[in-house]
Symmetry: C2
Subunit: 322 residues, 2 copies
């Protein structure tokens, strides 16, 4: 992320997280090392570790405890990405072939399990059983979110409430836990921990809604995956759900939803519909509502340098193009 | 297993494990409940929980701690089975359709993750961070074993040493840990814990070799999956490896190994070769060697009722037909 260049202290801590991740993910198996180097090379925004570390800076920042914890959370996230790609039959992520497409489902499944196990191993060394329990619940929520998403594929009647519940499970809960365990491990007050927890959740919601908008408006080259990839797989996100519920566009949108072989022209048609119906606009506004809530939590937090960094992170989230 | 009928005390404890597993595996998601009931209905031998509980009976048996621990280990095992089936494209396990074939890879992957997470959650409540760490290492070994097995598929030059290392990772290490954590949690002496640990490992080796023999000699109806399923998938187990290294049979066996579309006649041919070459015999003898080692560890253990049950378990392992 751009903001790290302006916040050298966080940038340096995140570099330690990267080193920790790299050193934990060594294996004697040739093929596993290949898949892991591939994963590491694709990078990622490291948002969850950033939330852990920034939240911890509101208390007593203990690097030796926090860097492994932040790394473990990122490794958990990497595990869900690898498994996610098995589900989606995804061929590209962040512009590079996925583990699944390079090595097959088989290797992808156990690479994900390997990552989970590594994450749990790291976590048992760096946090309390209570936090460990909370993190396990977060992963459970992600699994339920992914299964629910699969179950409701191609279902044209998905409600906005349903969508919000899904993205909470899929994304926001792990963000929530990241900021919360960071705060708790650093011994922040109850009030500060509570604010950071809420901030993490709403940040996650805004992040996922923005992600879903970018699936329509992003540039393929920058996104590193085909546009409208969710729609192609029958996963209907907020702009589509909104459009399908608007009487003026419902019929047209539902025609695309039930169509068997979508052409590129159809996909372009879907893109026009979510624009015309105001579905994209609605999603952007909702993302901004969550960002607004994050700002109000920020305002209530004690004055610390991390506050500035979190504030800029929010700006960047809203303006991001990938 | 038959022996549980003769050991009512263990049978009752295993029934508690089943109840614990059932109550942990509830989900609000319809589809997840379906896959989990399916998994639970297929049963399984519950060997790992039995090892945990029997080992603990050499010390101070604390049911409230041990039943959740034994359940967690079984849930971990169930998770690896579900993921294993994604890899193998397996359609049947224990005579029932696999999660993968009923619900697709997608659901199978996250059902497995859900199970892992549940297991870790249960474990954090019932054991020390040290044991937790050991169990995570066992799962890591299973992942590595599975990936390695996939990597060496259709490789006709696999050595016996290679095979033994693979089944240690795939199977024996979790058996080893089961008996070890049972012993440690019950406060057994170092010597007793060490013996039980070794017994678990060798039991696991004997169990897996027997499993691999049954893939050739078992009855399809009893096994609940097609015969020679490993060979069909390019996974070469001990009887095949032995045969391929015998100059008298090597050429014939390697011809089957490189053949693209194996007919049922070919499969029957493979079955005859492993019989004629003495490959099956060799595997049986090796399994008996491991069983013999288990018996010698048993002899050195203090006299407790669990000793009799373990001894019968060994008998049953050797004679099992499924």
């Amino acid at each position: 992320m751009l903001i790290w260049k302006r916040h050298v202290d966080i940038y340096d801590e995140l570099a330690l997280v990267d080193t920790c991740i790299r050193s934990s993910l060594k294996s004697n198996l040739h093929i596993l090392n290949d898949t892991l180097s591939d994963l590491l090379a694709t990078g990622g925004k490291r948002l969850r570790p950033a939330l852990v570390l920034l939240s911890a800076q509101f208390g007593r920042y203990d690097r030796d405890k926090l860097v492994p914890l932040a790394s473990a959370i990122e490794i958990m996230h990497m595990a869900t990405l690898v498994h996610d790609d098995v589900i989606d039959d995804a061929r590209l992520r962040r512009g590079r072939p996925t583990t699944r497409s390079r090595f097959g489902n088989n290797v992808a499944v156990f690479t994900g399990d390997f990552l989970f196990t590594k994450a749990f191993t790291l976590i048992t060394q760096s946090t309390t059983p209570e936090n460990m329990h909370l993190l396990a619940l977060a992963i459970k929520a992600i699994c339920e979110g992914e299964i629910e998403q699969y179950e409701s594929r191609f279902r044209s009647s998905v409600s906005i409430r349903h969508y919000l519940k899904r993205i909470a499970r899929k994304t926001a809960i792990l963000f929530e836990l990241s900021s919360y365990v960071g705060a708790v491990e650093a011994g922040c007050s109850k009030q500060t921990s509570r604010l950071l927890r809420k901030l993490g959740f709403d940040f996650g919601m805004a992040f996922q809604i923005t992600d879903d908008i970018l699936d329509f408006t992003g540039q393929q080259a920058v996104m590193g995956k085909p546009l409208c990839s969710d729609f192609r797989q029958g996963v209907y996100t907020l702009p589509v759900i909104y459009t399908a519920r608007d009487p003026r566009y419902s019929e047209q949108m539902r025609a695309y939803m039930v169509k068997d072989d979508l052409t590129e022209e159809d996909i372009a048609g879907v893109g026009r519909l979510v624009e015309q119906s105001g579905g994209l606009e609605y999603a952007k506004n909702l993302a901004m509502t969550y960002v607004g809530r994050c700002r109000s939590y920020l305002d209530q937090l004690p004055d610390k340098p991390a506050k500035g960094a979190l504030s800029e992170l929010l700006e960047e989230l809203v303006e991001r193009k990938y």
